[in-house]
């Protein structure tokens, strides 16, 4: 590095450059807030079941094994499109309900959560909502 470029010049470039790109990012975030309205299916949140389902999703740490829109753990299948993959909300509920409490010998096993029916309904409604979010044509196919 040349003699005229001093540490204090480098420091000024750091503060100036970072601040500039932070402002660009904040501007993009501001635009993003408006633009997602067309794709995040917020109208489906009018059904309180969806928010309840999201809470159940969180308080049972589903993300600790599964991915949701590709984010989470990679131990178990993607669930952003699970309603589509299994064909219906009923099938999703039946799957969750049918997990054996002691697991399946030698295989990756999902816990039996003993959800009451109303909780199962909420989880299925939440997963249906996620499947409707416009995720830019991701995943590539129904297998997730």
């Amino acid at each position: 590095m040349s003699g005229s470029f001093t540490a204090s010049a480098a420091r000024n470039v750091f503060y100036g450059g970072s601040l500039f790109f932070l402002l660009v990012f904040l501007t993009l975030t501001y635009r993003n807030e408006t633009d997602i309205a067309k794709r995040d299916r917020r109208e489906m949140l009018a059904n309180p079941q969806v928010a309840l389902g999201k809470k159940l999703w969180e308080t049972n740490n589903c993300i600790g094994c599964h991915t949701l829109l590709g984010e989470g753990a990679y131990f178990a299948p993607e669930l952003g499109n699970v309603v589509v993959r299994l064909g219906s909300k009923e099938a999703v509920k039946a799957f969750i309900k049918g997990r054996p409490a002691e697991g399946i010998a030698g295989r990756r096993s999902m816990p039996q959560f003993n959800f009451p029916d109303k909780d199962l309904d909420a989880i299925a409604d939440f997963l249906e909502y996620v499947s409707k979010i416009d995720a830019a044509k991701w995943p590539p196919n129904v297998q997730g």
Partner: protein
Amino acid sequence: MQYKSQAVAKPYFIAALALFVAQILFGLIMGLQYVIGDFLFPHIPFNVARMVHTNALIVWLLMGFMGAAYYLVPEESETELHSPKLAIALFWIFLVAAGLTVLGYLLVPYATLAKLTGNDLLPTMGREFLEQPLVTKVGIVVVALGFLYNITLTVLKGRKTSINAVLLTGLWGLAVMFLFSFYNPDNLVKDKYYWWWVVHLWVEGVWELILGAILAFVLIKITGVDREVIDKWLYVIITLALVTGIIGTGHHYYWIGTPEYWQWWGSIFSALEPIPFFAMTLFAFNMVNRRRREHPNKAATLWALGTGVMAFLGAGVWGFLHTLAPVNYYTHGTQITAAHGHMAFYGAYVMVVLTIISYAMPLIHGRAANSNKSQVAEMWGFWLMTVSMVFITLFLTAAGILQVWLQRVSENPMPFMVAQEQIALFYWLREITGVVFLIGLTVYLWSFFVKEKGPAAAN
């Protein structure tokens, strides 16, 4: 050690290493569950092991950063720490909170833990890496504020240096970005958008400032290179880090319901993210080559050089591998992500914390460096852990490529679990390599207890 209060770093470093051991043990449990699916089921299901694995990592790195700050800030400021008592009190609060949180994960079903700890008041739990109960999150904020108060006052009363300024900026950024963990809207797209403000803007943002400052401090000490030169490098590196990393957040906004223009912003800026890491590699090697003294602590020098190389490989190269939107379309949420995560965390943050520990611990014990025998053991630990992490990453990358092909690209895409069975071989190889990592960690820890007869390296 020039200032008495620098010794408060010691308990932080010891606790960090203890949590490191816990992280690795739970990593091995998870690795085994990948191939023997019902291992420890239903007592420790995969999601619980994963929470312990990732949360222990985050907490021990934070412990390491805090220890690093307590050690280097007084020396840089040329003054004693504002309050060593506060630092020790916060240490115990943090350790007990972390311990109770882990016990909560292991002993109580997660839903019960959520209920017991007031998640209903403000639901924040159950999101990746932010699984901590509300009380723990509040505890983290309290500890962070107390820590920042202590460090900031120390910096303000003493000598002003670039390293302190950069470290402090990074640490304040860390605390501020964590506040987004309390924002959890019902709208999943918004939830995910701001979740990344904690996760991405930590590891590909403000943590890089902390990393740069710690590395710069150690390099000044072990090489004796002029501060003006080191400062200039430090500022150039962190400028590149933030200029690319802030908008680079966009590489997480491809497929979560956010608009398609993020594919351009994210691809272009995050494609540049390897540059600061490459600069870091050059920085470390240049400074060591231009050294004006032969520091007796060869192990610390090795860790510093290793950080430069492995951070570039893990964060830079393996990040670039899947960051372009058309590639990420196929690799998103596969073992490719896991491969990158492992080497990036190890190469950048684990290694920089081990660098400062390697440099500072002998000095805290009143010697410039450990005995030759101890350093040889430490370097064995370095090589065993580093090489096994390279292989863990390679095996996960192989698993990821196969997974992408079988499940997403081939003419008849396989269901997730069918594809997983096809790649079990690579999970076995990863697990075996994980055992080698544990052996390396054991050797590393053993090096702290290696004594050699005769005088230790004199200061």
